[in-house]
């Protein structure tokens, strides 16, 4: 069996701001196998996007990766120089951003932005690069790609722009794509189209995917496995059906409880009491304890990771026994 495409181990990314250290990512570990789709779920500020950017080495000062390891196809990425990282970015490791209106340079034509991406890694003629760009556009379902190459970004709709961004990510057939909430800014109908498209392409090309989102519904339809982040840590991960049907961590349970549609019509939605803690002033011990109904004296110590039949969680008082049949 081939090793994982991506192995993140005990990753810590901190931001050294004037007002103190923000531990955006603090001890995150997960793996992604070839062709697998991992859903990375959490509220805004939970550190899921920072995790994504850390993998690409796109953390800017005052942020810094302070510890841990990130291995892509068995090669260590942490500690690489900028020029060594550049060889990986866009080549074997690509990223799709949240807001398609902002990711394409507004004053450059689509062809400029696609051809430069091809030429950044392959020494081919501009003509060949253009052909590849057109091919990639066709692959993501943009009609008349040769003509559309001459357009400026503002001549596309949001959904079309995101397709262009996906096409750019696919140019070098990467082994892993990190998608940072790529459908959040889009209409619901466009959202499902894009989801279906990405799922199809990844399945066809065997590309692994880390899909960062706050939307459990998206994860349920798309991911093979899911990792739930809270306050810079992964509090629970496992197979997607396992976790969504039988959440162990009270936070996961709360997240699922607050999704409309998971309940019979007319039933009350359960909001998690309290709000996300400031990452500058994290409580000692379990970060979720102040909002948790199950918290007790034991939770004043940070819970270690409990491994249990393919599930991993950080809780002293798991809501459900992993693996127990429903």
């Amino acid at each position: 069996m081939a090793g994982p495409v991506l192995a993140v181990d005990n990753l810590a990314t901190h931001f050294f701001t004037r007002d103190g250290v923000v531990k955006s990512v603090d001890g995150v570990s997960f793996e992604v196998k070839p062709g697998e789709v991992l859903g990375l779920v959490g509220e805004s500020g939970s550190g899921k996007s920072v995790t994504g950017f850390s993998i690409l080495g796109l953390i800017d000062p005052p942020g810094r990766i302070v510890g841990g390891s990130i291995q892509l196809n068995g090669e260590e990425l942490v500690g690489r120089s900028e020029s060594e990282m550049r060889k990986v970015r866009g080549k074997s490791l690509a990223m799709i951003f949240q807001d398609p209106m902002m990711t394409l340079n507004p004053v450059l034509r689509i062809d400029t932005q696609m051809i430069e991406a091809v030429l950044a890694h392959d020494a081919v003629s501009e003509k060949a690069a253009r052909a590849r760009a057109a091919e990639a556009l066709g692959m993501v379902g943009i009609p008349a790609p040769e003509e559309r190459l001459f357009a400026y970004p503002h001549q596309f709709s949001g959904g079309m722009r995101q397709r262009v961004a996906i096409a750019i990510a696919l140019l070098h057939r990467p082994s892993l794509i990190i998608a940072d909430e790529p459908t959040t800014a889009l209409d619901v109908t466009i959202q499902s189209q894009i989801l279906a498209e990405v799922q199809r392409i990844c399945a066809e090309s065997g590309t692994a995917l880390v899909w960062i989102t706050h939307d459990l519904a998206v994860v349920a339809g798309l991911a093979d496995r899911v990792a739930v982040m809270y306050a810079g840590r992964i509090v629970e991960q496992g197979g997607v059906d396992d976790v969504l049907d039988r959440p162990c961590h009270p936070y996961t349970q709360g997240l699922i409880g607050s999704v409309p549609g998971a309940h019979p019509a007319g039933a009350r939605l359960h909001a998690i009491p309290g709000s996300t803690p400031s990452l500058k002033h994290l409580p000692q011990g379990c970060a979720f304890a102040p909002r948790c109904t199950r918290a007790d004296a034991a939770c004043a110590v940070a819970p270690p990771i409990t491994m249990n039949q393919g599930r991993a969680y950080r809780c002293f008082h798991p809501a459900a026994q992993a693996g127990a049949s429903a």
């Binding site: 690509a94 340079n105 991406a117 950044a120 890694h121 400026y152």
Partner: protein, 325 residues
């Protein structure tokens, strides 16, 4: 696009008309216009004679219409000092001023853009802080004093460059220029640098803030995620975005360069229309002053108009919203 140009044209016409009215009231109504027509030692009879001849005993609106007619014909009377047509004098000196302003503009971009880019990309670097301190100094330095110091340093103490005057002028394609000979450049360098000083600071600040803003944009991060080199990101993605506002501002600043050339020209004895204006002010040569004001206002309005149209042509976003509107 056509509607946009027409609208801008209307605004330009409004500015010119407003200026004509202001100049009329400034010179004809506040001051007694007769003194523009007669020599300083004229007798009372001569003054009365002129008053009747030129119709200054008539109602204001009639006089205004006369003035308007003169403006349309480009006729501002004869300079007292030179005895020739005021407008012709101004136009004859215009190429020298244009050359100076143009050279200053080039210097501002050549010096300011790289410094601003650096300061924007590495805001914490000591050199970047030095550049920004320098740009505050550049804003604070009084132009005329810097001119004096340049002369003192490079002409009096070091003796490298001539202190005053313009180099040999040749005419090429109908344009008079002194930029084709080494001696011409030696004469041009100091005044151009003096005139450019403020604009260098301006370009540094614009470039820096534009770069800082652009560097934070998602499209730069996405460009990095594509694996592009830093030089490609800065040289294409960032530069192309910040160039549009910089070009626009610089275009608009060209007019202020022409205005400030009054100071520089008088220090470096540069034979442009600014120096001519100052001499006219000192000798109360009013026809010359009026002619200068009208020429400069027309120049300003034309430049603003061209820059606005160019701007909309340069920026694909503006281009589109205009064509959709």
């Amino acid at each position: 696009m056509l509607a946009f140009i027409l609208r801008r044209l209307m605004q330009a016409v409004f500015v010119v008309v407003a200026m004509v009215v202001l100049v009329f009231f400034g010179t004809y109504v506040i001051g007694d216009p007769v003194w523009m027509m007669v020599p300083g030692d004229a007798t009372i009879e001569q003054v009365g004679e002129v008053r009747r001849t030129f119709g200054f005993d008539q109602p204001v609106y009639v006089q205004f219409l006369h003035f308007l007619g003169d403006v349309v014909r480009g006729e501002f009377g004869r300079s007292y000092v030179h005895g020739t047509s005021a407008i012709a004098l101004i136009l004859a000196r215009m190429p020298a001023t244009m050359e100076l302003a143009f050279a200053a503009l080039i210097l501002a971009v050549v010096i300011g853009l790289p410094l601003g880019l650096f300061a924007g990309l590495k805001p914490e670097h000591p050199a970047a802080r030095a550049i920004m301190a320098g740009s505050i100094l550049g804003f604070s330095l009084p132009t005329f004093w810097v001119g004096l110091m340049l002369i003192m340093l490079f002409s009096v103490m070091l003796g490298w460059l001539p202190a005053t005057g313009r180099g040999p002028v040749v005419s090429i394609f109908g344009l008079e220029t002194s930029m084709l000979s080494l001696d011409g450049w030696r004469h041009l360098l100091l005044p151009a640098l003096n005139l450019a000083l403020l604009k260098i600071s301006l370009v540094i600040r614009l470039t820096r803030s534009g770069t800082r803003e652009a560097a934070l944009q998602d499209y730069v991060k996405f460009a990095r995620a594509k694996g592009l080199s830093q030089s490609r990101i800065v040289g294409v993605h960032i530069l192309k975005n910040i160039l549009i506002p910089i070009v626009t501002v610089l275009g608009l600043e060209f007019g202020s360069l022409v205005a400030f050339s009054v100071v520089t020209e008088s220090i470096f004895a540069w034979p442009g229309m600014g120096k001519l204006l100052l001499e006219a002010i000192q000798r109360l040569d009013r026809p010359l002053i009026v002619a200068y004001v009208m020429v400069v206002v027309l120049l300003f309005v034309t430049i603003n108009l061209i820059v606005d149209i160019l701007y909309s042509a340069l920026d694909p976003r503006v281009r589109l919203s205009e064509s959709e509107a």
